[in-house]
Amino acid sequence: MALDFAKGITEFRWHGRGGQGVITSNQMLGKAALAEGNYIQAFPEFGPERTGAPVRAFLRISKTPIQVYAQVYKPDVVVCIDPTLLDVVNPTEGLKEDGILVLNTDKSPEEMRKKFNFKGGKVVTVNASTIAMDIMGRPFYNMPTMAAAVMATGTVKVETVINEVLERYPGKVGQLNKAAMERAIEEAQIG
């Protein structure tokens, strides 16, 4: 029987590699949702994080307390921050038909739809790697990818997330991340 155990909960799944900031961006989006008065759960796929290995993280956001404690199997949103993973994992696995797929890639949403045979929902692509290198000079592409996800889902306000980032990284690092996030929002393609 198909039962919905996540009624009223928006569920995210993140893909990335150890060291790229999957856990951090997941927690930061969670804390932004919390700042807007939501209940949250933000947790990694439990394991020792190994630099470079594929890692996943999960986020639940709800207006009411969340009771379920398990991994997310049918996400509303999937975010993949590492373009090299797109040939390794299938980010659409379990994604709801009307779900949102957010990918860091230089390809278009149409190309990604074809690649993963994903017909429903929304596909959002953003070249976060280039944005990160242009603005920060280093491959910190988790924040720009997250910005595209925030923009596309509307679960949390962009300003709230940027405030969280500035709070966590005060000074220049925060400002650079903010600039990268803003550019990602401008350049993200939805298709």
Partner: protein, 401 residues
């Protein structure tokens, strides 16, 4: 200590904290004198965060970075014996290495608060959650409370000191969270102002203490003459826990509006089948029951919090009218007819003339995920067993066979 008052909303801090961080923050506010611990995953953040507070001068506590867990619990006993308020944290192999000293802490009546991030035991090495570590210590004489959420972990840690230090109790207490599933999960936590926590707890008043000016010996030797009497007293202390626990919770509720009980009853009033579990599976079971109820199933959850002392009478009363009780537990007691949680329940129900059927599922060993579908599978199996009129003593669920 002045009378406990409701803390106004504007004095409450809301933060996103992992289970470990929530416990660390609670410890920060409990005015500890000594914390002695040795790092082990997944409780590491508790001690890491607390060390940061100590390094920043935010707490006035002696942190003793010992060379092993055996030493950690030994140092806790020494500090507690001179009258200090003491805490430690560990998991899995670390808890196992404390084994010998756990019994000393309880027998010497040291009110030590011990945060446990439940983790499987080796081999093979596994850092993930199950309950084999603290279930193994169930006869050590520690009070054991298992919590579901980061908020509950924070609240319970604070209450733990007041329960343990009460002169009717004077026993060490474990506050358990599920490793990774809660220890590394960021949730919304409402934190009290430190002043309110300090007022609630007061300063520990030792019943008796080591004092160079007035020397005594603690826990030396008692053979056939008096050992048994010590055990008799220890047993009585355990019996005193539920009353003290209720008083402490009532005061805590006055301050926060929150209370949890020795166990939580969820939609059990008219339930024909009751799910009996604790920690995070207790939450998942409630979410599952919500969905099953929509389909017309008469099912509820009894989420246990206090495993030691086991609330035998109260639980018997709560489940006696059900047709079946389904136990979900994350431990296999090898060679035993069933497993720790089900064994307690079956003992509690034995004297009833008409007993609910008890079905025991071992789940989630070594962190195997326990989604709602696992709960549904156990529920469907139980309905079959009810039809047949008999069930196996236990079975494993969610494993390749």
């Amino acid at each position: 200590m002045t009378a406990v008052k409701r803390v106004p909303k504007d004095q409450i801090t809301i933060e996103g904290l992992t289970g470990d961080a929530a416990i660390a923050h609670a410890l920060k506010q409990c005015d500890l004198d000594v914390l002695a611990a040795y790092p082990i995953t997944p409780q590491t953040i508790i001690v890491e965060d607390y060390q940061k507070f100590a390094a920043n001068g935010e707490v006035h506590c002696r942190v003793i970075p010992v060379e092993s867990e055996h030493s950690a619990m030994s140092a806790c006993i020494g500090a507690s014996a001179v009258g200090a308020r003491v805490a430690t944290a560990s998991a899995s192999a670390g808890l196992a290495l404390m084994w010998e000293i756990l019994y000393c802490a309880a027998s010497m009546r040291m009110p030590i608060v011990f945060a446990v991030a439940n983790r499987a035991l080796s081999a093979p090495i596994n850092i993930h959650n199950d309950w084999s570590d603290s279930y193994g210590a169930r006869d050590s004489g520690f009070i054991q409370i298992y919590t579901q959420s980061c908020q509950e972990a924070y609240d319970t840690t604070i209450m733990a000191f007041k329960i343990a230090e009460d002169h009717k109790v004077l026993l060490p207490i474990m506050v358990c969270i599920d490793g990774f599933i809660l220890s590394h999960n960021v949730e919304r936590v409402e934190m009290l102002p430190t002043e309110a926590v300090e007022n609630f707890l007061g300063v520990r008043e030792p019943f008796i203490k080591l004092d160079p000016d007035n020397p005594i010996t603690m826990g030396p030797l008692a053979l056939t003459d008096y050992y048994f009497e010590f055990k008799e007293q220890q047993d009585k202390a355990m019996d005193a826990v539920p009353d003290v626990f209720a008083q402490v919770e009532a005061e805590f509720e006055k301050m926060t509006g929150r209370k949890y009980g020795m166990f939580e009853e969820y939609k059990t009033d008219d339930a024909e089948i009751i799910i009996f579990t604790h920690s995070t599976p207790g939450g998942t079971a409630k979410a599952t029951v919500d969905v099953l109820r929509e389909k017309g199933e008469k099912v509820g959850v009894l989420r246990l919090r206090m495993f030691r002392p086991f609330p035998t009478k109260e639980i018997t009363e709560a489940v006696k009218n059900a047709k079946a009780v389904i136990v979900f537990e994350k431990c296999r007691s090898f060679g035993a007819p069933s497993n720790p949680l089900a064994l307690e329940l079956r003992t509690a129900l034995y004297d009833l003339e008409k007993r609910p059927m008890v079905v025991d599922f071992v789940i989630g060993l070594g962190g195997r995920d326990c989604p709602p579908t696992t709960i549904v599978e156990g529920y469907e199996k139980t309905k079959e067993y009810l039809k047949k009129g008999r069930a196996p003593l236990y079975e494993t669920l969610g494993v390749r066979k």
